[in-house]
């Protein structure tokens, strides 16, 4: 049944009810999930109180370009990061099924509010010290390096060969649209010398970073398919790695599913510790519909096999697969029943966990520029139940996620919860 912004609250349990139903899930994580699902609007007075020199607003990456005075994420008071769509008040802004949260400015603090009620004070992601500096070639460093609260992000190939293969892009993804909108401002692959300069400068800020993260759209070319992508990662990781005294330093890539030979090269020739290749969808038929490029060039079962090989090489708990949580409900081919979706998804997640591969839950939210921009996102109840199920699986199989937790990533509700148990003891 079609439901608009005015009536969705009557059809599904709200935040307070979901918190009550899931006493084992952090209320902060549930709140984050809901904000990621619905997005947030910044009131005009909240916007005027933003200090770009302190509050991170600049962002250039595969999925987002932001050079305005609007931040792209914030922190809750427990240290949980909330990376989400934040928009200015604008009557013409893109309308989603559910209205967004509000970020207001009250008594000298930015607060997250819903239906006029303040829920939590928030703080913005700090602007990294390198932001206003330039590389030796004169490129502003913020254009080639991103800083989450405790992680530096390098986005290499800022488009994707699946998008270039007509109709083969993942249907929820905005990489193609982002590249199209910014192609006059940026190269498909940022200059590696520029990135290295920015990384070197970033490392001069003590206490700012716990990990180095690299991500790239799929590159299909090379002596063997994806070799060019692998070589790009290796070159960048070696450029970064030479600044450390240790051979292995906390690091992660989110990449295409590589062959065993390619994975061994990444493991043996670089500082890399953690590897992620996103299945996005934990059902073979839906995967083929939602991620046609991945299905055409690699396939669900082969992708999964490559994750298993990766876990053999990098070790259990160091390999994960991202899932765009809720996209499995997309119509007309997706699940129509959330209980059935949960059963199928947790069964497949357990299958992966048995092989040492964990799931990183990312919340599906609709964005203009994606094929699915008119789809409806899942209920908070469903997303929370999935996070709870994934957390239980991680505990059951002892899959820690130090490479991808609330500090070294901060984008996954289920791995945010690992901070309450990973590390051993009682």
């Amino acid at each position: 049944m079609a439901q608009g912004q005015s009536d969705w609250r009557a059809w599904e349990p709200g935040l307070a009810e979901v918190v009550k139903r899931h006493p084992k899930v952090s209320p902060f994580v549930i709140l984050k999930t809901d904000v990621q699902r619905r997005g947030a609007v910044l009131t005009e007075r909240a916007r005027r109180a933003i200090r770009p020199e302190k509050d991170s607003t600049l962002y250039r990456g595969i999925n987002l370009e932001s050079n305005a005075d609007i931040p792209w994420g914030f922190l809750l008071r427990d240290g949980t990061s909330v990376l989400c769509t934040i928009e200015a008040e604008d009557p013409d802004r893109f309308e989603r099924t559910r209205e967004p949260y509000t970020i207001d400015y009250v008594d000298g603090k930015h607060v997250l509010a819903d239906e006029g009620k303040a829920l939590e004070a928030i703080t913005w992601i700090p602007t990294p010290a390198y932001t206003w500096k330039k590389t030796r070639k004169g490129t502003p460093m913020w254009q080639v390096l991103i800083a989450r609260p405790q992680r530096m992000d390098i986005n290499l190939y800022q488009t994707c060969d699946f998008w270039k293969d007509g109709g083969m892009g993942c249907r929820f993804c905005v990489a193609g649209a982002t590249m199209k909108a910014t192609k006059h401002d940026k190269a498909e692959i940022p200059d590696l010398d520029d990135i290295e300069d920015a990384v070197r400068e970033a490392l001069k800020q003590p206490g700012r970073y716990r990990s180095v993260f690299l991500c790239s759209g799929t590159i299909l070319t090379g002596a063997e398919p994806q070799d060019d992508e692998v070589n790009l990662y290796i070159e960048m990781l070696q450029r970064v790695g030479k600044y450390f005294t240790e051979r292995k330093v906390m690091s992660q890539i989110v990449a295409t599913a590589f062959t065993e030979k390619q994975l061994r090269r990444l493991h043996d020739e670089t500082m890399l510790c953690g590897y992620t290749a996103d299945l996005e969808v934990l059902d073979e038929e839906l995967f083929s519909w939602i991620c046609p490029g991945k299905a055409k060039h690699i396939g669900y079962r082969e992708w999964r096999e490559r994750l298993y090989r990766a876990a053999d090489i990098f070790g259990p708990g160091r390999v994960s697969s991202g899932v765009v949580s809720g996209v499995e409900m997309a119509q007309p081919h997706g699940f129509s029943d959330e209980d059935e979706a949960l059963r199928v998804y947790l069964a497949e997640a357990e299958n992966l966990a048995r092989h040492g591969v964990s799931i990183s839950q990312q919340i599906f939210h609709v964005e203009p520029g994606s094929v699915f921009f008119r789809q409806r996102t899942a209920t908070l109840e469903y997303l929370t139940a999935f996070a709870e199920g994934l957390d239980a699986l991680s505990r059951k199989y002892g899959l820690t996620c130090h490479c991808d937790d609330y500090l070294t990533c901060g984008n996954h509700p289920n791995t945010d919860m690992a901070r309450a148990w990973q590390g051993g003891g009682r």
Binding site: S26, L75, R77, D78, G79, P126, G207, R419, Q422, G423
Partner: protein
């Protein structure tokens, strides 16, 4: 009481014990030399070990509104018992980085900083023996060994 608390926390020889419980309910006690009062009258201290039991327990208590206990023992024997709830974990930003640099300078080696924790103080009471005995006498005058109240002469001592 707040001034007593501040004075005790500023005593360089004060022993500052923090007791927490996690999801399994097992109690865990550590000493937090870094504990001090912040501008709002809350307790603030560093957790230096990211994977520590204390860190995990504090996360649990913050998420679910559970209390932690603090016991301060000053160099002169004075003691305060405090109950509070963790309300904030700072994991980045200017204050975090300044604390990180200070800790690295002080301890070197593998010294690190997981979070700056804030515990909102809910209750403070004296915890010295004389104070506790007097408090019990006031609230429950009949509890205790009755020989304390015996008239020694009348029993022939």
């Amino acid at each position: 009481m707040k001034e007593k608390l501040r004075a005790l926390l500023e005593d360089p020889r004060c022993v500052k014990a923090l007791a927490t419980v996690g999801e399994a309910g097992a109690p865990h006690v550590v000493y937090k030399d870094s504990m001090r009062l912040d501008a709002d009258g809350n307790l603030e201290f560093y957790e230096m070990v990211e994977t520590s039991q204390t860190g995990r327990n504090l996360v649990h208590c913050l998420w679910y509104g559970k209390e932690v206990a603090v016991n301060l023992l000053g160099s002169g024997g004075e003691s305060l018992q405090i109950k509070g709830v963790p309300v904030r974990a700072v994991v980045c930003g200017d204050a975090f980085e300044a604390a990180y640099v200070k800790l690295r300078e002080r301890y070197g080696g593998d010294a690190d900083l997981s979070a700056i924790w804030t515990v909102e103080v809910r209750e403070v009471r004296g915890n010295g023996l004389a104070h506790r005995l007097a408090r019990q006498r006031e609230r429950f005058p009949l509890i205790g060994h009755i020989d304390r109240f015996v008239d020694r002469e009348r029993i022939g001592e």
